[in-house]
């Protein structure tokens, strides 16, 4: 079996956020690669897409979607896929990813990454749709494990088994979001280490890191703060198993200055070493419940 589907290890990447456009273009920071939210650029013909074209000429880029809705029982949205493929033709991403989720049915879009019951029916359904998407895009789809806030009584498979069978059946890759594993495990009472051990490591093309909000009885995947120690430790374990997949830090709320964002990413280098035993200093705070991320909406104000 070919590791990472033959896709390269891009190194350490950051999410491309509009707040940092000018900084990146002017300073050309030493970031290995950028991940873009596909929907932020697919239908934009203004400044964001123009800037993305410039950045894609200078850095490797990966397209990460939030609206494919691979698990929905609505028909696949081929207008969406057409627009996605057009953007990929321009940007030439190293790969295209989206989430194991559904976003709506009956043509409604909740704009949330909704969880699926994990059973034979949903597995067959998702695999059929992944095959269709891969055929249309003419490339493997990289599927991310979502943060979940509920589990279902009609689930018969643990998520790691679902992902393993899904990759075997379709040839798709995995985007292992370590923070999502932690968030879901906390919310749904499973062991995150068992999860990390159970996924098909040779299919992990990319890993995500992010900060989350602990609300006491549950955790929200907010992408609005530093990565916490438990997630770093999980990452340390997963990175060894996943054969040096590309790593990306997501930050979508309370977005800090570029250098702060970048320095948080660079912490991951320590945890790539299996022997590292340190820990980050953490500030714990209880604040108003935030919304889970990522979102696909640009602030237009800065371009006025």
């Amino acid at each position: 079996m070919e590791t990472r589907l033959g896709l390269p290890n891009l190194g350490l990447g950051l999410g491309l956020r509009s707040q940092h456009f000018e900084h990146i273009l002017q300073n050309k920071p030493a970031v290995d690669w950028f991940e873009v939210i596909s929907e932020n650029f697919m239908d934009s013909h203004g400044r964001p897409r123009y800037i993305l074209q410039q950045i894609a000429e200078q850095y490797p880029v990966v397209m990460h979607g939030v609206s494919l809705s691979i698990g929905s029982t609505d028909p696949l949205n081929f207008d969406y896929l057409k627009s996605l493929k057009q953007l990929a033709g321009e940007v030439k991403p190293a790969w295209i990813s989206d989430h194991l989720c559904w976003t709506g049915v009956l043509t409604t879009n909740s704009h949330d990454l909704l969880p699926l019951p994990l059973n034979d029916e949903s597995l067959k359904h998702v695999c059929n749709r992944i095959r269709q998407v891969q055929d249309y895009l003419e490339r493997p789809l990289i599927v991310e494990n979502p943060s979940t806030y509920a589990a279902f009584n009609n689930s018969t498979l643990p998520e790691w088994d679902f992902l393993r069978i899904m990759t075997e059946e379709t040839g798709c890759g995995l985007l292992l979001d370590v923070n999502n594993v932690y968030v879901s495990s906390f919310n749904n009472d499973f062991d995150p280490v068992t999860y990390i051990n159970g996924i098909p490591h040779d299919r992990v093309v990319q890993m995500h890191l992010a900060g989350h909000q602990n609300c006491g009885n549950y955790i929200i995947d907010t992408h609005d703060r530093e990565v916490n120690n438990q997630v770093w430790k999980l990452f340390q374990m997963a990175y060894q198993l996943a054969n040096e997949a590309s790593v990306l830090l997501e930050w979508d709320g309370n977005i800090p200055a570029f250098d702060v964002y970048h320095s948080e990413l660079l912490k991951s280098k320590k945890y790539m070493d299996a022997t590292f035993t340190g820990a980050e200093k953490e500030v714990h705070s209880m604040d108003k419940e935030q919304v889970s991320n990522p979102l696909n909406l640009f602030a237009v104000n800065q371009f006025l």
Partner: protein
């Protein structure tokens, strides 16, 4: 004994979506009716697992709160000046009702507020009153303007054009591709700009105003216009020819006995400097 729960995926998704979009069952649809094809599942507790820390309803509640909070947040970003004008509580009440009546059907959140101004128009609080309240008209105008700004920001247009200079022969002047004229009953542009510049504008009194929003090298600019300038630029946009616009404009304004050439010369100079014209 543990019961085996089976729910067709399609039914499950319609059930869950109904609970997200209509958590208080205001549409009269009972979500549990959507589980009629399920085996051993007739309630939230039958479908969603409880955990050590949360009940099934509490797990669902995270998604229910997140759904409306996320979309409210997007509406707030799309209509930030409007939210300031209305105040957060009233804005949220309008936004929630709008989202309930028109759930999103597009993957792109930029379109979320596409019908918000129409919604406000159709649901104005003084709908039953004979005498209409001014501030509501302002709110509707502001909503239309804020959404239009977002559309103009993203619109596909030719960008690789040459701007006119002071030396460009007049007959060669063309307005730039993204160039949108606005007429308001209220000073909407002024209010909008003051808010965006961190000021705290008060709700304005009725006063006709005219503006143009144009885009050059992907950056939007907004300019105030006089009525005459608005009329002239409207003619120019319609006919795309300076001479025709000047002729029609002078015909319209002959009663005013005004000497147009010196005025036009002044306008032309300012507008070329402001990137109104391309070659």
């Amino acid at each position: 004994m543990h019961k085996t729960v089976k729910i067709p995926l399609k039914d499950f998704q319609q059930w869950m979506q109904q609970l997200l979009l209509d958590p208080y069952q205001q549409t009269g649809v009972n979500p549990n009716d959507l589980l009629s094809n399920a085996t051993n599942a007739a309630s939230i507790e039958d479908v969603i697992c409880h955990s050590e820390k949360l009940s099934a309803q509490e797990h669902l509640g995270i998604y229910q709160r997140s759904y409306i909070a996320r979309l409210r947040n997007c509406m707030s970003q799309q209509f930030s000046a409007l939210e300031y004008a209305l105040g957060e509580a009233i804005f949220c009440a309008f936004a929630d009702d709008y989202l309930a009546s028109r759930p999103s059907h597009h993957y792109n959140l930029s379109f979320l507020g596409a019908h918000f101004a129409d919604y406000l128009e159709n649901n104005r609080p003084d709908a039953e009153e004979t005498v209409k309240e001014d501030w509501i008209d302002f709110i509707i105008e502001l909503a239309r303007f804020e959404y239009a700004i977002g559309v103009l920001f993203d619109t596909k247009a030719e960008e690789d054009y040459q701007l006119a200079t002071f030396e460009t022969p007049e007959e060669q002047l063309k307005i730039v591709p993204i160039f949108s004229l606005f007429t308001f009953k209220f000073p909407v542009r002024k209010y909008y700009s003051e808010f965006k510049n961190g000021k705290n504008p008060a709700l304005p009194l009725e006063k006709e105003s005219y503006s143009v929003v144009l885009r050059h090298q992907f950056k939007l600019s907004i300019y105030d216009l006089h009525k005459e300038q608005y009329d002239f630029l409207s003619l120019l946009k319609e006919h795309n020819d300076i001479a025709t616009a000047k002729d029609l404009f002078q015909t319209h304004y002959t009663k005013n006995d005004m000497q147009f050439e010196p005025i036009w010369s002044n306008w032309k100079e300012r507008w070329i400097a402001a990137n109104f014209f391309r070659v």
